[in-house]
């Protein structure tokens, strides 16, 4: 090594937990997003699925006029649901990255740094959220082309972006938590596939919860996807905006994020053993 000067306390904020949390979360998320830049193909191909839902499923169901949507054209009703679904499907398998990185030794290398443990998990969740955000414009454009009355009001677009990132982070954290518990790729894939269907169908993504039997309504009430869809529907296609309802939905997602982050952070060091 050419320069041997040691850094005793590298930076002034190294002992402030909240600041290290924020800075380290940014560092981890930034590195994750660099991987996307090196290989963007995966993300682009993934945008195909929501497009197919809108084009095929959406057109057929719209033609049947079988689903009461409270005055919205069915495609308008469906578009936010498909946006939320694309985030769910991408994020629910995100935990596989830490199993992969554990097998490579990357997790171990990060865990021996003085970085905030919370940030090592939160950075991944943030990256998952930002990855989903890449798909949002694609869904938006297709929806507009299909005649969906999606709002282009800048403030509402910011709200949509926030809801997409937050909702994806919830499902990514859920996936990371499961990954820390099951610790193998195969089991995580199995559980991910098992969870996707009830999460999707026990939500208001493709039909209103009013159509559900009572027991399913209960399930949908504790399903974060319901709140994500509800916020997105309000922000994206609702003719009138109800800020209280939106803040309520986002509040539930923030709470879910915080709880899952705490659990995942607690379990995270187990992965390395």
């Amino acid at each position: 090594m050419t320069s041997l000067a040691r850094v005793e306390r590298p930076v002034a904020w190294a002992d402030l937990p909240l600041i290290t949390f924020i800075v380290d979360t940014g560092a981890v998320a930034d590195i994750e997003l660099r991987k996307v830049r090196h290989d963007p193909i995966e993300l682009i191909t993934r945008a195909a699925q929501p497009i197919l839902w809108l084009l095929i499923f959406g057109q057929v169901i719209a033609a049947t006029r079988a689903i009461p949507t409270g005055g919205l054209p069915y495609l308008d009703f469906l578009a936010p649901g498909v946006l939320a679904q694309s985030a769910l499907f991408a994020a629910i398998f995100y935990g596989i990255t830490i199993i992969w990185e554990r097998d490579m030794g990357v997790v171990q290398r990060y865990l021996v740094t003085p970085a905030s443990r919370w940030a090592l998990v939160a950075g991944k969740a943030l990256a998952a959220g930002l990855r989903s955000l890449v798909q949002a414009p694609i869904v938006y454009i297709i929806a507009l082309l299909l005649g969906v009355h999606a709002s282009l009001d800048p403030l509402r677009l910011v709200g949509v972006a926030f809801a997409v990132v937050l909702g994806s982070a919830v499902f990514a954290l859920f996936s990371l938590t499961i990954a820390c518990i099951v610790r193998t790729r195969e089991r995580l894939m199995g559980i991910g596939q098992l969870m996707t269907m009830p999460l999707f169908f026990a939500s208001s993504a493709i039909y209103p919860t009013s159509l559900m039997p009572d027991w399913l309504k209960v399930l949908s009430a504790v399903n974060p996807l319901t709140y994500m869809v509800s916020a997105l529907r309000e922000l994206m296609v609702s003719p009138t905006v109800d800020p209280v309802a939106i803040l309520g939905d986002l509040g539930v997602l923030v709470l879910a994020c915080a709880i899952l982050l705490a659990i995942a952070t607690k379990l995270f060091p187990r992965v390395a053993v």
Binding site: M1, T2, S3, L4, A5, R6, V7, P10, V11, W13, A14, T20, V23, D24, A27, V28, I31, R34, K35, H38, D39, E101, D103, M104, G105, V106, Q108, R109, Y110, L111, V112, T113, P114, A115, P269, A272, V273
Partner: protein, 265 residues
Amino acid sequence: MTAAVETSALTRRFGSLTAVDSIDLEIGSGEIFGLLGPNGAGKTTTIRMLITLLAPTSGSARVAGFDIVRSAQDVRRSIGYVPQLLSADGTLTGYENLLISARLYHLPREERRKRITEALESVGLVDSSDRLVRQFSGGMIRRLEVAAAMLHRPDILFLDEPTVGLDPVARDAVWSLLRDLSTDSATTILLTTHHMEEADQLCDRVAIMDLGHIAVVGKPSDLKAAIGPDASLDDVFTTYAGHGIEMGGGYRDVARTRRTASRVG
């Protein structure tokens, strides 16, 4: 001189298996110290406790003067770690691999680029800094990992089987890199190995470890001389452990070693 690493009855059990059984070690500042033993001897478990990845079942240890349980965060600031697995991220470039280390070690922003460039120079990887690591050879990845682990100038560098699976040329390059580190920056180096030659060539002192115990500690030359005039470290190992070093090794260790070796190619 204060000890860089000091353990006292350090023990780790996994269920009924005692992987590390009450070991007492003292490693001086600036030493290159080798934990020598077969797969399954408890070397990796010992290292994992010392670097705060794994809590001891009982006993204690101090690393760079800090207790590994009570002052884990101070320990982390004082050490660098190169795992047995090739842990550089293949989906990132060489530069980015060092960048994430620099950021997680909280190096000041204005120093990062300079340090990363210096580190890449010191391991001879400047020309490859913008290539994805998945295109690197095993020897290049190892050198990159040493650079990443040294960015924050740790007092103590831990390496778990640093040359397993490397060809002789790459292995010699890693050895000379470690020797330079030891001479130039007085970094204490603790490595595990099951290669007698590595212990003999590189280490100032070795501890022979078998079945969770430390059988003997000393300079390779002294240990050999105590057995006989033409003794090798193999003979030393057999004398103290009662069997050759090729024995032992659970499925998990062997599987991991093979996986590392196959990634090295």
